[in-house]
């Protein structure tokens, strides 16, 4: 198939599947809390709606930076789709995409001039300190498989079995990262309700649409990565079942766990990262 067509189809799949999975995640949380919850399609409708709403800009915003940062967020997650599902390229590039996502969380908040955004911005610095060590799980995978290429990791698993059985602690690390990025997570300190919507508070209309579009793709890519690098070559049905199961598990966790304060959140993430990294390296050596 033509490369451009492949990219377009994969981006559309990532957006639609990501939106529906986020809607499903919210539905699971609602059912656990004995509420009916919004329809599964609600997140997708919200995302599309924002693209057609009037966009207003705060007088205090750092222009054009305030606009550019959301466009960059959408662009880097489209890059992640190209590097991941389309080209099955290097995990290092997706690590870079994730780093930029943290930058956007940081600066979408601070560029508006709102105190809520600013608090979210400072928290994003804390959370990056905890989340990036979790993403360092890719280094452990490299030490075992000898490659960062997603296609190489799939080939390794086809020959040696799924990595989840060989590196269970590394899988826990990555799963913690997924929990962190899920909506209403105990680790989601940048979007705590006490700071309204955190870094998204002052982004309206199309800008919010870009952020929601990016979040859908980010959620899809994180789940796709987890299933690909820990469960090996699986079919489309396998991906679908895996993604739904992960949404149910994270939904249960988030529905029953209060949000941690920033220090506890970061220290919990770093503790999990250190224990699982050391444990995984010992398992590789043994």
């Amino acid at each position: 198939m033509n490369l451009m067509a492949q990219i377009l189809i994969n981006v559309i799949i990532a957006f639609l599947a990501g939106s529906l999975l986020l809607g499903f995640h919210r539905k699971v949380m609602a059912r656990v809390q004995l509420r009916p919850g919004p329809p599964i399609i609600q997140y997708l409708l919200h995302s599309l709606k924002f693209f057609f709403k009037e966009t207003s800009f705060p007088k205090t915003a750092a222009m054009p930076f305030y606009v550019g940062i959301t466009v960059i967020l959408a662009a880097v997650w489209v890059t992640a789709v190209i590097v991941g599902p389309v080209a099955q390229g290097s995990l290092m590039i997706i690590f870079g995409v994730y780093a930029i996502h943290k930058i956007v969380e940081h600066n979408a908040g601070s560029s508006s001039g709102s105190p809520y955004g600013k608090l979210s911005c400072v928290r994003a610095v804390f959370s990056a300190a905890g989340e990036l060590p979790l993403f360092a799980v890719i280094a452990i995978i490299f030490l075992l498989t000898g490659t960062m290429d997603i296609s190489g990791i799939i080939a390794y698993q086809a020959a040696n079995g799924p990595l989840v059985l060989q590196l269970p602690l590394a899988a826990i690390m990555f799963f913690t990262l997924i929990v962190t990025k899920s909506p209403y997570s105990p680790f989601a300190i940048t979007k705590g309700k006490e700071i309204i919507s955190g870094f998204e508070t002052e982004h309206f209309g199309m800008l919010r649409g870009y952020i929601m579009f990016s979040e859908s793709i980010a959620w899809y890519i994180l789940l796709w990565l987890f299933l690909t690098i820990f469960f090996g070559p699986i079919s489309v049905v396998g991906y679908l079942i895996g993604m739904i199961v992960i949404c149910i598990i994270t939904g249960f966790i988030n529905a029953t766990t209060p949000m941690l304060n920033p220090n506890h959140s970061v220290m919990a993430q770093i503790s999990i990262a250190v224990i699982c990294t050391v444990g995984s390296i010992i398992m590789i050596i043994i």
Partner: protein, 222 residues
């Protein structure tokens, strides 16, 4: 380790004596992104922080003055260029130099701010960055002593010895301190409370990109 197995297939090399610059998709992605951000910073104005005052209907506005703006924008652009250099360098010593420059410029970007908490934080970060300069340069120097080269493309072909692993870990301590990541993040977080979002971005961006690149370098050496 093979360089191709980390950041993707090699797209080209530029041999400069024993230092060989090499480009792969990861380097290009990081390099282009940092240049886009630097251009955006160069053309952006800063935000005005607005807070409601307690006990009255007034607002407290904090903005960046013109002189301070020019000073910080200049340093932010230097920081962006230094980070872009660190993304594509093929030499370990150049990487440490770029890293040290980023650390110094990061302090400079917030040193013009007239807020005591922010200056205190910058001072503490400066102390950590200075202390971590020793393991950063020391690690690179010991790698040179152990292998006879600082070229990453050469280091990738040399099997990792216990001394190289030790040196890489010493460098890791240096990079963690210089970039202000965990466990040193507490010394840096307060710096982000100051207005001037585009300039603050480059501090955070340079730290995160340096970590991404150093993970690649670490795995290349090991």
């Amino acid at each position: 380790m093979l360089i191709e197995s980390l950041g993707g297939d090699l797209m080209g090399t530029i041999p400069l004596g024993d230092i060989v610059l090499y480009l792969n998709p990861l380097h290009i992605f990081l390099f282009v992104t940092i240049l886009v951000f630097t251009a955006l910073i160069a053309m952006s104005r800063t935000e005005t922080q607005v807070e409601a005052m307690f006990g009255s209907l007034d607002e407290n506005k904090v903005a960046v003055g013109k002189k301070e703006f020019k000073h910080r924008r200049f340093l932010a652009i230097i920081c962006g260029i230094a980070t872009a250099g660190a993304m594509i360098t093929g030499d370990l010593f150049n990487f440490t130099l770029f890293m040290a420059l980023i650390g110094i410029v990061n302090i400079g970007i917030v040193s013009a701010v007239k807020q005591v908490e922010v200056l205190n934080s910058a001072y503490q970060y400066g102390l950590i960055a200075m202390m971590c300069g020793l393991p950063l340069f020391g690690g690179a120097a010991m790698i040179l002593a152990a292998t006879g080269t600082l070229s990453l493309i050469e280091l990738a072909t040399i099997p990792a010895s216990p001394m190289m692993i030790f040196c890489a870990l010493v460098m890791l301590i240096g990079v963690c301190g210089e970039s202000g990541i965990a466990p040193f993040f507490a010394s840096k977080a307060e710096m982000f409370r100051t207005p001037g979002s585009p300039f603050i971005l480059i501090i955070h961006l340079s730290s995160l990109f340096i970590i991404v690149r150093f993970v690649e370098i670490l795995l290349t050496i090991l």
